[in-house]
């Protein structure tokens, strides 16, 4: 199966996602330039972390106009699994593929550390291999990961079980003490209504080998492989 990782100017975790899917997971992977219009036969699309266009203006704001984004949109509309990690999540928000927006971390500063994240939903292509309420140790590294949606939107997200990951304690309890950036409802990641597009701020690809301190993130990428068997969508 094939992961296509989109490279925006300023992406900096593109190769990390490529490495984790190809070298660690052993699947096919390709880096796709943002000016291309073809996803190279992707089974799964990853929008990686980084600072697309410097994150000048707003995170993800300029990247959503890249030519490749029409293909990503079409792929998502057909039910193809799309994962946005960190900056990739921000791009998905700006592109309207996921609801809500990001504002500056509540304590302003860039936050780089390992956090515990609780898996809330296991019926998305990126969590099917997780146990319900499984807690993953994943690095975060962002200045704007403070998730916002207006009250009605937020209520809808919760009602539709679209909150996929929440910041938690190591034991899995969710509270403001374990919320690193002020995200509403401790949201670390969400999915769209169709559940095939997922975005999260933590970096599963950076936690895919024990040598790096945690291999907890691999289950997110492995989920995609597992889910693909049961998913049916057209690639073109």
């Amino acid at each position: 199966m094939k992961f296509s990782v989109v490279v925006f100017p300023g992406s900096n975790s593109d190769y990390d996602a490529f490495y984790a899917t190809s070298r660690v997971l052993g699947e096919d992977a390709a880096l796709v330039w943002h000016k291309d219009t073809d996803l190279q036969g992707a089974d799964v699309v990853i929008l990686p972390g980084g600072f697309a266009h410097g994150d000048y203006l707003r995170t993800g704001a300029i990247a959503r106009f890249s030519p490749i984004m029409s293909a990503v949109k079409a792929f998502a509309d057909r039910g193809g699994p799309v994962l946005g990690i960190c900056n990739g999540f921000q791009v998905l928000l700006e592109a309207g593929l996921l609801p809500g927006a990001m504002v500056r971390n509540d304590r302003i500063k860039f936050v780089s550390r390992v956090v515990a994240v609780r898996v809330e939903q296991t019926d998305t292509p990126f969590t099917v291999a997780c146990a319900s309420k499984q807690v993953l140790n994943l690095p975060i590294a962002h200045g704007e990961g403070n998730y916002y949606a207006d009250p009605a939107e937020l209520a809808e997200l919760e009602a539709n079980r679209q909150v996929v990951f929440r910041y938690s304690s190591a034991a899995g309890e969710v509270s403001s003490a374990h919320n690193p950036n002020g995200s509403l409802n401790s949201i670390a990641g969400i999915c769209n209504r169709q559940r095939n597009v997922v975005g999260l701020m933590p970096h599963p690809e950076r936690a895919s080998e024990a040598a790096l301190g945690s291999a907890d993130g691999l289950v997110v990428l492995a989920s995609a492989v597992k889910s693909l068997a049961s998913l049916s969508f057209s690639r073109n």
């Binding site: 600072f51 410097g54 780089s112 590294a141 895919s208 040598a211 790096l212």
Partner: protein, 764 residues
């Protein structure tokens, strides 16, 4: 260019001394015009020419079996096997960071990254060594806050992890903070590209940000002392653009793979002047450019401004004639537009044109190799001997060990730097094996089993008390930290931060420090492959402590074998390798508890240090030890506590033998005897003295005999001092209770001290 009378005022504005001007006249064979004078001014500045330090730097050991590239290029390179080399260098941005902390630090990071990818290497790690005034002052807090944000702002965006560093707080740096940044990259040995012009007739390309009027005379500013007037002559500070640099980095690495690039150099200090003259003189050729082709951000720029601008994120390339389109195509892909600005020429002259009219014509070696070299007078400071005298009876009574310990773990220089490094992305790139907070950073080398351990260290207090020994100690500490992660030291880089070299005492400090670095590097087998010199670090005539910062890179054949300072489990035996001599001269203990910087720094036996490092590297490789930690600031007691921090609360019980009462009588430090070392003083010297060449390890009962045997074979004392376990740090000295703290309490004080100073409140 309009003729300008070059009078003393003009020369002064350009920082050119009368005898230097005579030399210019001689080299030129005529009077220079203003543009030419500008070129000499920036190229002969201390920052670019190393005119005061060069004679000393020449004495450093630079050769070794692994050295691929020594000093003289944009960065040094050392062979790490498999056809690969590690490319690294350290660079300072002290003065700009004082004027504008965020941008000063950010552009410092940008500058050193360019030095690395210019060589054809992909940067994979950043470290920094920072010095600030006391965090009890608003000024130091503001500078610290800005510098940390700037370091993070640039590195995070470009996606190179900041994996380690060190931060020291001392009022001596209040008006002159230090920001030294080390970058390290990986390249194939045969992929190294140099900053030399090749082949007359080959086109010269400019790529990157447009040239503006920023930082004109920045290089000369970095070489001038601060005084009240400098507030007025503040040059425009450059604003870093990490996004542009990211594009440049990716594009340059891609374009170098085509083989069409024959030479490349970044435009840093002295901008286009430096890049054109250095590339020409390194290649033994000339260069001819027309400033009309240089992309400009502002209108009406003169050739003088264009040549001297220090706009960031720009590169100059020599391209093989006929292959221009290959280069242009790569840059176009990245939305960067490379433009030809000139060509390589026969001869050795730098010719600058403005719309075809020749406006400057200088032999390029006159700007580079033939810059003045000074053998400046050196004189040991009159106060040097006095500050080496340490009489404890003058300091009153010693505090109880427990209260000294409580103070020390929370003093910002010793406390956890997590407030800072949590603002640095240290996991991007998926190579980081030992994160910030460990003794050395460890990154793996993808596609191999290898790893690189890196550490930056320096102790200004030691160097103030004895620059020669202090510099040796800095080398030893950096190498020891690397060894404690399992890395065999293979190369070093250094940043010399000193005051005004025109003062003989400062020059003496510099000369002594360089001699110390050389002595230690020769003994430890560490070639110096590059570095940086930052002089005139003074405010209102007050120089900083002489502060050489050493960056040492070590190689692990198997990155998975690395270890950290942290105790891994209860029930392990704790062993001290080395001697506990109780040397408190220049210690953090004396500074924090008694407000004194006095005495001689700890003695250093280089042969023993080398054996110790070999020993620890072997023990780690063989899996004989579970943790390893160097003893430095705060001594044995603080080092023991640090082994318990981040372990999840694993405590330790240890008994330490009282140090001797004449520990200062080593042959190397005659006259350094401390008077009054008895009672509490002796207990505190035992616990908080900073004797060199000591490592704390933990090992299983089964491995203990092997550890002892290996130490014996190496001629290093190995003393079992205690056992891990429980939830307290309990230390006795000769059986007498000295320290007894809950790990959780000590760790909280240590982990949150800086955050509390910065926010004025207890952290969440």
């Amino acid at each position: 260019m309009a003729p300008v009378v070059i009078d003393t005022a003009v020369l002064e504005r350009h920082g050119i001394k009368p005898d230097e001007y005579d030399r210019i006249l001689q080299l030129m064979g005529r009077e220079p015009n203003l543009l030419e004078l500008g070129l000499f001014s920036v190229m002969w500045s201390e920052h670019c020419s190393y005119k005061s330090s060069r004679v000393h730097l020449k004495t450093l050991p630079t050769a070794g079996p692994r050295v691929v590239q020594g000093p003289g290029e944009n960065a040094g390179a050392v062979d790490i096997g498999d056809g690969l080399c590690v490319v690294f260098k350290i660079e300072s941005h002290n003065h700009p960071s004082f004027i504008e902390p965020y941008q000063g630090a950010a552009t410092g990071v940008g500058g050193i990254i360019r030095d690395i990818f210019t060589m054809g290497a992909r940067p994979i790690a950043l470290l920094n060594a920072l010095r600030f005034g006391s965090l009890d002052t608003a000024l130091a807090r503001r500078i610290f806050e800005g510098v940390v944000a700037g370091v993070g702002g640039y590195g995070n965006s470009i996606g190179i992890p900041t994996v380690g560093g060190e931060i020291v707080f001392d009022e001596i740096y209040a008006g002159n903070p230090l920001v030294n940044v080390l970058c390290l990259g990986i390249s194939r040995i045969d992929g190294i590209v140099k900053g030399a012009a090749k082949g007359a007739g080959n086109p010269v390309f400019y790529v990157g940000a447009k040239t503006g009027r920023d930082g004109i005379h920045g290089a000369t500013m970095a070489s001038a002392e601060f005084d009240e007037k400098s507030a007025e002559k503040r040059p425009a500070v450059q604003v870093g653009d990490p996004f542009m640099e990211k594009l440049l980095m990716e594009a340059c690495l891609e374009v170098m793979k085509t083989g069409a690039v024959l030479g490349i150099q970044d435009m840093g200090a002295a901008g286009l002047s430096c890049a054109t003259s250095e590339m020409g003189s390194r290649g033994g050729l000339g260069m001819s450019i027309d400033v009309m082709h240089v992309p400009q951000r502002e209108t009406g720029m003169t050739p003088y401004e264009i040549m001297l601008s220090e706009s960031q994120e720009r590169m100059l390339l020599v391209v093989e004639k006929g292959r221009e389109h290959e280069v242009e195509a790569v840059f176009d892909k990245w939305d960067l537009h490379a433009v030809q600005v000139g060509e390589v020429t026969e001869g050795s002259r730098l010719k600058i044109h403005e719309r075809g009219v020749l406006v400057a014509d200088v032999p390029n070696r006159a700007l580079t190799d033939e810059a003045p070299v000074y053998r400046r007078p050196m004189q040991e400071p009159s106060w040097q001997k006095a500050v080496q005298k340490l009489s404890l009876s003058d300091l009153g009574s010693a505090p109880p060990a427990q209260s000294a310990f409580d103070r020390l773990v929370a003093v910002p220089t010793i406390a956890s730097k997590r407030w800072a490094y949590r603002q640095y992305d240290h996991s991007v790139g998926t190579n980081t094996i030992a994160q910030p907070g460990m003794s050395a950073a460890v990154v793996r080398v993808k596609e191999t089993k290898r790893g690189l351990a890196v550490s930056v260290d320096g102790n200004g207090r030691f160097c103030y008390l004895d620059p020669h020994r202090g510099a040796m100690l800095a080398v030893a500490e950096a190498a020891r930290n690397v060894a404690c992660a399992g890395g065999e030291p293979i190369g070093g880089t250094n940043n010399l931060n000193f005051g005004n070299p025109e003062r003989p005492e400062i020059m003496w400090q510099l000369g002594e420090a360089v001699r110390g670095i050389g002595d230690a590097c020769r003994a430890l087998g560490i070639p110096i492959t590059g570095g940086n010199v930052s002089l005139y670090n003074e405010t209102e005539g007050q120089a900083i402590f002489p502060t050489p910062v050493l960056g040492v890179v070590g190689l692990l054949d198997d990155a998975s074998k690395t270890t950290t300072r942290i105790f891994k489990r209860s029930g392990a035996v704790v062993v001290m390798l080395g001697d506990n001599l109780g040397e408190i001269g220049g210690s953090e203990y004396l500074a924090t508890l008694h407000g004194k910087v006095l005495g001689v720094p700890p003695a250093l036996d280089l042969a023993r240090e080398a054996s110790l490092q070999k020993l620890i590297v072997g023990l780690i490789r063989d899996g004989a030890v579970e943790s390893a930690h160097d003893c430095s600031e705060g001594g044995l007691a603080v080092a023991l506590a640090e082994c318990t921090f981040d372990s999840g609360g694993i405590g330790v019980t240890a008994d330490i033998a009282l140090c001797g009462d004449k520990p200062f009588l080593s042959a190397e430090a005659p006259g350094a005897k401390v008077e009054g070392l008895s009672g509490d003083w002796r207990t505190n010297a035992t616990l908080f003295g900073e004797s060199a060449s000591r490592i704390l390890v933990s090992a299983s009962d089964e491995k203990l005999p092997a550890v002892i045997a290996a130490a014996k074979a190496a001629g290093i004392p190995a003393i079992v001092i205690g056992k891990t376990g429980g939830d307290r740090i309990r230390v006795t000295v000769d059986g007498k209770a000295a320290i007894d703290s809950l790990v959780a309490d000590a760790e909280k004080a240590w982990a949150t001290a800086i955050e509390q100073k910065m926010t004025g409140r207890a952290p969440l």
